[in-house]
Amino acid sequence: MDAAMLDAIFQVQRLCLAYPARRGHPAATILDDISVDVERGCALSLVGPSGSGKSSLLRCLNRLEEPTAGVVRFDGRPITELDPRELRRRVALVLQTPVLFEGTVRDNLMVHAPGATLDVSESRLRATLTEVGLDDALLDRDAAMLSGGERQRVTIARALLRDPQALLLDEPTSALDPPNAMLVVDTICRLRDTRGLTIVAVTHTPELVRRLGGALLYLVKGHVQAYEPVQDGGVIDARLQAFLSGTRP
């Protein structure tokens, strides 16, 4: 991988993450000496077996995890120099299991920190729902009544309303059935194109890796096993292809 990228939005340099020893638990190394760049408007797919540190690496990018060593830069600045709350508005996170709060879809889209403000017009709310492929009639539906795919797309819409520059996705489709998973993949790929969003995704879905393009980072036990571009034709390194298809036939 070419180290000197033209315009890297994320620069991860020699990142390590370890948890301290506690009563009954030895110290644990989660990530060891990870370096990776993500170009603005491009995608990075994180793949690897369970427990390889993919989600932890993702969570280092919006500082939900604090690295033990190394630096993460966002837009050229170490993220430790930014207010974590501001960083997280610019770098949105979508979790594997969509978290919706009590109330309507509208309540969920408008949710914000007690001190903060979120000034969103009605038309923008509706447009954002449409943008993630949902009917804007859902706006006043009880969020608890939505299907899994709808829930996940509402959480994506909620992230989009904050106008993020990057979207972090933690296995966004693994809790969904195949048709719903495909709808979410479509939504994500469309957003990358229309909004020029940078996307970092932990995924086991070959379809998502192929369609996102960009680069692919293969992690095993906290170490980088491979870091290479996803070719235009969707030709992924044979080992990775085997891994991806092996875990999600």
Partner: protein, 265 residues
């Protein structure tokens, strides 16, 4: 409080031995129903006698010595034991939990005690052990139970609702804002037994302190006045104990950079 000397029947050793027969009834039930509780029952009965006798001897000595520092020493020992008891009820360790529990219990007890002793009952001198020690004990006991209940609930919820907390963090909430709904649930869980207890106090069962005063010869009307003070005092001890404990404990789970320490869950 009127002196109980008139109405009190002094219990002899012989009478205590008769009360021990009640334990034998329990042992018989355990044997017959194969509950396997005989050993614990025996240890429990012996501990009841030894612990209460020791406490009785110490209290008698402190009452006779009538020195404020002895009274405060007793309170400090009680606070240390309550701290240990509250901490040992938590399912998982929290780093620095002894200091958290000690601070929460000491501050909540000191504040409640200062008000009740200094403003409501006003004994002379203020450290009169006959008042200070039993009242401090009741306050500590309630703070301890509520802190442990709140801590237990907070821990359980932080684990089961960790995704919800991180979803809020990811939306730009501060650490404390992100856990606030969980803190509220923990406080409610710890305070509900006390609030419910206020609804039925005296109707279902006469409270222990009131019973004691009546047995000691106090008029029921004097006893209920004390009991009313005690109920309100316990309510505030419950609220303060759990509030302080959860506030301090949350500081261990969320970082200044608004992160949830997942490895502690």
């Amino acid at each position: 409080m009127t002196s109980g000397v008139l109405g009190v029947i002094e219990l002899s050793w012989w009478q205590l031995a008769l009360a021990m027969l009640l334990v034998l009834v329990v042992a018989a039930i355990s044997l017959r129903e194969r509950l396997g509780l005989e050993r614990d029952l025996l240890i429990g009965a012996v501990r009841t006698i030894v612990q209460l006798y020791l406490v009785g001897l110490i209290l008698a000595a402190v009452f006779t010595a009538a020195r404020w520092y002895w009274v405060l020493l007793i309170l400090a020992v009680m606070a240390a034991i309550a701290t240990h008891a509250a901490v040992s009820r938590l399912a998982k360790p929290i780093p620095g939990v002894y200091w958290i529990a000690a601070t929460a219990l000491t501050l909540s007890t000191a504040a409640t005690l200062a008000y009740v002793i200094g403003m409501v009952i006003e004994p002379r001198p203020w450290w009169e052990p006959q008042y200070l020690i039993p009242i401090a004990g009741m306050i500590l006991g309630n703070s301890m139970t509520s802190a442990a209940l709140a801590g237990d609930r907070l821990q359980a919820d932080l684990f089961s609702r960790r995704d919800e907390v991180e979803a809020r963090l990811a939306l730009g909430f501060s650490g404390r804002e992100a856990v606030q709904p969980l803190v509220r649930a923990a406080l409610r869980a710890s305070m509900i037994p006390t609030v419910n207890g206020m609804m039925t106090v005296g109707v279902v069962q006469l409270p222990g302190m009131m019973t004691g005063q009546i047995l000691a010869g106090a008029s029921p009307l004097t006893a209920i006045r004390y009991q009313i003070v005690v109920v309100f005092m316990m309510a505030v001890a419950t609220a303060l104990g759990s509030l302080l404990f959860t506030r301090l404990a949350v500081g261990r789970y969320v970082t200044p950079a608004h992160q949830l320490r997942r490895y502690l869950l």
